[in-house]
Amino acid sequence: MTNYDDSPVRGGAAQGPQAEQAATASDPNIASDLAPVDAALTADGATGRGEGVGQAKETEGLSQGQIVRARFLRHRGALFGLITLSAITLMSVLTMGLGPIRGLWKYQDHTRSGDMVNGGEPSLRLPFAGGGFAIGDHPFGQDSIGSDYFALVMSGVQTSLFVMLVLGLTAMIIGVTIGSISGYYRGKIDMVLMRFTDLIITLPVLILGAVLGRLLDVIPIKLDATAAQREALKANMPLLLAVVLGMILWTGLARLTRSEFLSLREREFVDSARVAGASDWRIITKHMLPNAMGVIIVNVTLLMSVAVTLEAALSFLNFGIKPPNVSLGLLIADNQGAFATRPWLFWWPGLFIILIALSVNFIGDGLRDAFDPRTRKIPSDRAMKKAARELAAANPAAAIQEAK
């Protein structure tokens, strides 16, 4: 149901549009009880129905990476997502620069106020609205103190993307480490680590995130930090927030990695590696992790889409990113009262949040299809009929034979 925007506690089963993946993951014991049954059913299905025959031909002579890439590029939604996300990233980096490197846009300092031009209305003109295409001085308009809104939104986009990446990376490192250790060693270690995971899962992410966001805000005051330290903390707020949020979002990933490892460690190639004298570290990193990588990558991607909305929600509640940093959620929170008079202050950041989250979701969906050997491209009815017609045209006798 809910995404992290609106919090109701979700036990920790994987959430979101892709929730179907973990239909029964609310308890690891039960999930693992169920897993062999499901696996048996699907394996049976794959061989028994003669499916996958055409598949073998399709993937003949290709490496795993090539197959995945081809499948990913075939997924139209994923391609759309990839292109949109790249375009947004490129646009924000080109216009606002990256870190110390200055961008090309004329208003680099988004905190600077300026004179209102034309009541702060957007100067962007699109061809279909009449008057031809024009970017103008302030394409997205100006906010209430006259700062250029395009600069603000682009900085916000950068913050969102940055938080998304750092959060995904942090969550991946923690989740995969904990999941693989407890799946590989089982026993007491598994027990302790999984109870720790349960502990973190118990609370809704939004709640923990809000408390931690508040913590980041209060710490410099409590420690009587000097002005310079405070400035440094403020400047690195997005980084800190992303790391902190990553430290609470890893739980689902840990559970998935664990269940993946539990089944992988029973496989023959792991036994043979062990017999050949490989160390635990080598078995985990060289033999098991690459086999679990598909699941991990897909779920990290989906985690990132959650991260975008979560960061926006926290900033909206005022427990996330604070000025002078800019974030899309913060822009919406600051300007929600101005909707009736200056709606563009509200439209632009919302539009970019949606575009980013949507693209990442589609990329995740495409990746899942690409890594899942069970998905096949199903031709549409129209394509089937067309193929049948072509076949009939090429070889009428055979078609008649078939029709009989």
Binding site: T2, N3, Q18, L203, I221
Partner: protein, 508 residues
């Protein structure tokens, strides 16, 4: 089974205990109760600080404070929101019902809508309809709720209120809605091009007609259902339920459903007298609902036949729907009086709060007031949350439709309706057992952002304000309640799953 339950409960208590310690330590760092005094220019600042330190026992080490808190908590005294001086128990007694009110309707609607659309989308896999639903659900999933809420306030609430005061009909929008509805039904029903065209024309005309009637006849200004509306909808429900769950060939099931509908229509007259002479309450409503369910079951039982359960189920569903219709009809009868009340000022659709302060009026007016306040947050929550159910149910249904027993059912010549409803749907609904309890129990924790935007004084809002004002007690109670309920919910989910799915053994 008992051993399993005991072990899980013990574990849950242990986790909650550890959680309370960690949370208390974390909050001790994250909250700064002295923040407003540090910058206070008044000369007696040290005295004020000393007073507050004494009040909040800040001179004690944190573990002493934790033990004090734990002692009070175990005895059921949840402490104090010290900035306002309100005891937390008092806040909770209003906040919990408010949150449940807010989230109950939207959770139910989101589940029903999401599951239905998910199933249909799976049955039409790889069609334009399926792709459109997938896209829409991804879009919904990416929407930030605070953004949607502001849009709803701006367009829906203000637009509707303006329309009620000064009706001007925008035919473009009416046509657009009718077009979307036509396309939706074409995609959902499918079939040959001829059938598709017919479905499209019918759906388009029906939607357009209903909307035009509602707008032109002034229905929007004075919404009502009336006995005609109740009758039509009751009979339609009876037919739809019979077609879906029994098939029109099962005359007994159809008879039972229709009887239930007719009895319900008769009960409408009785209820008007009852509602007029007796002051109603929520308890009365629940009692009447239970009575209606019992009557429905009895009707189904009397129609009987070899497949008695099917008739009973159909009749019960119809009687529930009719009861809800009668209730809504009576609530709408107060509309005229409500919209002209002084406190409403002619703008009945509310944008903030859970009720109009100082409204007065009887039970029905209060219910209507609740409706108008629930409208916007419910729409926002449903929009955001139904997408997950759609995706989830689509996945589950696809999984089931590929199983061998579906092939068997088809090959022995069962009609497609039976294959889908009896063989596929029942199995595809099983995974819901693991998410529905979690969602239902989670709603007591409230929807943090929705409550903040719409100014509902529920649990989520209590958390947000207390966190901003550095009040530790309300936050701790909130954390303990949401944490405890999450554990209970997961326990129920596992238990339900074990009961439904024989492949799972919990004793192992």
């Amino acid at each position: 089974m008992l051993k399993f339950l005991a072990r899980r409960l013990g574990l849950a208590l242990g986790i909650l205990f550890v959680l309370s310690i960690l949370m208390y330590l974390l909050l001790d760092v994250a909250l700064d109760p002295l923040d407003d005094l540090r910058t206070n220019p008044s000369p007696n600042r040290p005295v004020m600080i000393a007073n507050r330190v004494a009040m909040l026992e800040l001179d004690q080490p944190v573990w002493v404070r934790y033990l004090h808190w734990l002692g009070r908590f175990v005895q059921g005294n949840f402490g104090m929101a010290w900035r306002s001086g309100q005891p937390v128990n008092a806040i909770l007694s209003t906040a919990i019902p408010t949150s449940i009110q807010l989230v109950f309707a939207s959770t139910v609607i989101a589940i029903l809508l999401g599951v239905t659309i998910g199933v249909v989308s799976a049955l039409r896999q790889y069609t334009a309809f399926d792709y459109a639903i997938t896209f829409v659900s991804f879009l919904m999933y990416s929407l930030p709720i605070f953004w949607v809420a502001v849009l709803l306030k701006q367009f829906l609430a203000i637009g509707l209120n303006d329309y009620i005061n000064e009706p001007t009909i925008n035919w473009m929008i009416v046509g657009g809605v009718a077009l979307v509805s036509g396309l939706f039904w074409v995609g959902a029903i499918g079939g040959e091009p001829r059938k598709k065209l017919m479905v499209f024309v019918c759906a388009f005309a029906a939607t357009f007609g209903v909307l035009a009637y509602a707008l032109l006849s002034g229905w929007v200004q004075h919404p009502s259902i009336g006995i005609i509306g109740v009758s039509l909808m009751a009979l339609a429900t009876a037919f739809v339920v019979s077609v879906l769950f029994a098939g029109l060939n099962n005359r007994r099931a159809l008879g039972a459903a229709l009887t239930a509908a007719v009895v319900g229509i008769g009960a409408w007259y009785g209820c008007q007298w009852l509602f007029f002479y007796v002051e109603m309450s929520m308890l009365w409503m629940l009692g009447l609902l239970v009575l209606a369910i019992a009557v429905g079951a009895l009707i189904g039982w009397l129609w009987g036949g070899p497949d008695r359960a099917v008739s009973m189920r159909g009749a019960v569903i119809v009687s529930i729907v009719v009861s809800v219709l009668v209730f809504i009809d009576r609530v709408f009868q107060g509309w005229q009086q409500y919209s002209q009340m002084g406190t409403i000022r002619g703008r009945p659709i509310a944008t903030i709060g859970a009720e109009t302060p100082g409204l007065g009026g009887d039970f029905w007016i209060t219910q209507l007031d609740r409706f108008t306040h629930l409208l916007l947050p419910t729409i926002a929550l449903v929009l955001i949350s139904f997408a997950t159910y759609t995706r989830y149910q689509r996945g589950a249904m696809l999984e089931v439709m590929n199983q061998d027993y579906i092939r068997t059912a088809r090959s022995k010549g069962l009609p497609e309706r039976l294959v889908i409803v009896r063989h596929a749907l029942r199995n595809a609904l099983m995974p819901l057992a693991s998410i529905v309890p979690v969602d239902f129990i989670a709603m007591i924790g409230g929807a943090v952002i929705t409550e903040t935007i719409f100014s509902w004084a529920g649990m989520g809002r209590m958390f947000v304000t207390s966190l901003a004002q550095s009040e530790v007690d309300p936050i701790m109670v909130y954390v303990m309640i949401t944490g405890g309920l999450a554990m209970v919910a997961n326990l129920i989910a596992d238990f339900l799953y074990a009961v439904i799915d024989p492949r799972i053994r919990v004793d192992a």
